[in-house]
């Protein structure tokens, strides 16, 4: 048996002076952050080369708790900020960490274009099916008939199948897990952070305060039990077949893992081809 450790191994990845976090008991966001810290620990990446960029919302607060260079930007715009950072700092691993409302509604345009241009970003989308910070409004992932504060009689729009969307836009890595799948999340994050191009991980997570309670679905723990019962791992599944439906089976797994020139690589290759020796490549500030 290994000797007991005095400190939680994830502590060094967090700004412990900012704890406790603002997240509610039973919320799934902290679970995913724990997985991210473990992924960083296992990957043995130099933490000075990691940056986390968030938008606005409950998941938008992740940047503020990670003990790395971190940027808490505006609502929906984490991806373009991160794209600028990744273009200026190709030596860094830039991670976007935000929620379903931030990334897929107000930030939807940036999400599809960043995937299309294959920006060097790992995007973690914590999908709790609601806007938590503002009181539980409907999002592009809220299921039909589920109640939100702005759809008090039940939602009536079709939802995004995010893995399908990201796959069709050209993402190099697409996975979906639930907050129940802590080892799988950490493994996917570890794999994805070491890849080039646009990598997307969707994590379904309970919002007990607003989404679960309003829909009479129980507490955070009940939702974890639900995830355990309803999730079916189908690695390599066709993303057309992984659509989510309200309270139905949840297909999880790694769906896409492919190679494609990233934005920075494509830009450099094109300039070299067009301009030959006259091309002066971008130099990372402060590096020889």
């Amino acid at each position: 048996m290994s000797p007991p450790v005095k400190e939680n191994p994830v502590n060094k990845y967090l700004r412990m002076e900012r704890m406790p976090s603002i997240w509610c008991p039973g919320c799934g966001i902290g679970t995913t952050v724990n997985c991210f810290a473990r992924a960083l620990d296992e990957s043995e990446i130099d933490l000075n080369t990691v940056a986390v960029v968030s938008g606005i919302g409950c998941t938008g607060r992740v940047a503020g708790y990670m003990n790395v260079d971190s940027f808490h930007t505006t609502h929906g715009r984490a991806i373009p900020f991160a794209t600028g950072l990744a273009m200026a700092r190709p030596d860094m691993k830039v991670v976007v960490y935000s929620g379903d409302g931030d990334l897929t509604a107000i930030g939807g345009n940036h999400l599809v274009h960043a995937a299309r241009r294959n920006a060097d970003l790992m995007v973690v989308c914590v999908n709790n099916f609601t806007y938590g910070m503002t009181g539980g409004q409907v999002t592009p992932t809220t299921f039909k008939t589920a109640v939100a504060s702005t759809t008090p009689y039940g939602a009536f729009e079709e939802t995004f199948n995010l893995p399908r969307l990201m796959d069709s836009c050209g993402a190099t890595f697409v996975a979906r897990w639930t907050a129940f799948h802590v080892r799988q999340i950490a493994k996917s994050m570890n794999e994805a952070i070491n890849k080039k191009g646009f990598r997307f991980i969707e994590i379904l997570a309970p919002c007990p305060t607003l989404y679960l309670r309003r829909n009479k679905l129980g507490e955070g723990l009940d939702e974890m039990k639900f995830y355990k019962e309803k999730s079916v791992v189908k690695n390599g599944a066709n993303t057309a077949d992984v659509f989510l439906d309200y309270r139905k089976e949840i297909t999880v797994g790694k769906f896409v893992d492919r190679e494609r020139p990233s934005l920075n690589e494509a830009m450099d290759a094109r300039m070299r081809e067009a301009l030959g020796a006259k091309y002066v490549p971008y130099k990372i500030p402060g590096k020889a």
């Binding site: 503020g64 273009m87 002066v280």
Partner: protein, 388 residues
């Protein structure tokens, strides 16, 4: 077009350039190596110039999917360690306002080029106006101060673009270069000096070590903090929330008070160092024409016509629109009979002149809806009338 650019990318020599292209060259000469843009006439040529020239000088630019993206991608590059800018006009400037506020609160040095066209909304594309002058100051929500410059020639487009980057590094505020369509598209001689003759303000990197350095603590003897970039071990936290000296969110009034006071003071207490203007024939003038941008070029003709008629008229041309040269206008208001303020809007900067004159002297607006420039006779008539 990279032929005679020197190793730092400065296109030294005498050129025949329009204002937009001169802005692009000014940005490169100032050391800008990143730009995120979105096309909109009449500003697009600034970004096109950068897209054409950057591959020869080690710069990177990308046309984004909209102005919302274009106006924040540059901040990623700035925190990565580069100098960066974005370019827009009219509707695009409206879309970018949220991020001007983000740059103000996060003290992100950056430059915006706004080549003004007639509005509101899609308005009169793409003919000239000076209708965004108040928006440049007050466009983003909340309370903040920034710097805005208004060139009146392609040469000044180059000079003030360099200056804009310098001021943004000096005070860590967004600096907006406010062209109008005519200045953006007029072609004149532009002399670009050799790199070693240009005064370039580099970013003030902290020498403190991680752990000692506080991201938002004003540097000693200054109101402006030193900067650190991503990747150097500082574990920066940059947020648009009200934050303390460490950069950590703190949702309380004393922190907000302290942060806002310093953000305002770094402009207000340095006004004398920031404010720029050009004056002519102010001694003994009865009437002073206060103008800026293309309107100042038209006013020159009107002033000459009035002088020919024996009117004692001088000129005060704004180079910084914001901060406004308050002290100078107050002093003048004690001496002259009247200010005449022609501008391509229905009354914006004239409000400042009127406010500062505080009834001591007459303020005569010479408004114009935009779409074209004033007829010099209209300004001339106003001068003659005001001199009576």
């Amino acid at each position: 077009m990279s032929g005679n650019a020197d190793s730092q990318g400065v296109l030294t020599g005498a050129h025949y350039l329009d204002g937009d292209h001169a802005c692009g060259e000014g940005a490169i000469a100032a050391g800008c190596r990143y730009s995120s843009g979105y096309p909109i006439t009449p500003s697009t040529e600034v970004f096109e110039k950068l897209a054409q020239r950057f591959p020869f000088v080690g710069g990177r630019c990308l046309q984004f999917e909209d102005e919302l993206a274009a106006s924040i991608a540059l901040y990623g590059a700035v925190w990565g360690g580069t100098k960066a800018c974005t370019v827009t006009s009219g509707p695009g400037f409206s879309l970018m306002q949220e991020h001007i506020g983000l740059a103000a609160i996060t003290e992100t040095p950056c430059v915006y080029f706004n080549v003004q066209r007639a509005g509101p909304s899609t308005g009169l594309p793409t003919q000239p106006a000076q209708g965004d002058m108040m928006q440049a100051r007050f466009g983003s929500h909340g309370d903040y101060r920034l710097i805005a410059l208004c060139p009146n020639s392609p040469q000044e487009c180059f000079d003030l673009s360099v200056e804009a980057f310098n001021l943004s590094e000096e005070y860590r505020v967004p600096v907006i270069v406010m062209l109008d369509e005519v200045v953006g598209h007029m072609t004149e001689k532009v002399v670009i000096p050799p790199a070693e003759k240009l005064k370039i303000t580099e970013r003030r990197w902290t020498k403190k070590k991680p752990g000692e350095f506080k991201l938002y603590q004003a540097a000693e003897g200054s109101l402006v903090p030193e900067m650190a970039k991503a990747g150097d071990g500082y574990k920066l936290h940059v947020t648009g929330l009200t934050h303390d000296e460490r950069g950590y969110p703190a949702m309380n009034v004393p922190t907000h008070q302290k942060m806002q006071t310093r953000l305002f003071d770094k402009i207000l207490k340095n006004v004398d160092k920031i404010v720029r203007w050009e004056e002519r024939d102010l001694a003994g003038a009865d009437v002073v024409v206060v103008s800026y941008g293309i309107t100042s070029r038209v006013a020159e003709r009107a002033i000459q016509m009035a002088k020919d008629k024996g009117v004692k008229v001088g000129s005060f041309r704004l180079i910084t629109a914001w901060p406004f040269p308050e002290k100078q206008i107050i002093e003048l208001s004690k001496k002259v009979k009247a200010f005449v303020v022609p501008e391509l809007n229905l009354g914006q900067m004239v409000l400042e002149v009127e406010r500062l004159s505080a009834g001591r002297t007459k303020t005569v607006p010479v408004p114009h809806v935009g779409g074209t420039v004033h007829q010099p006779e209209v300004i001339f008539n106003a001068i003659v009338e005001a001199a009576r």
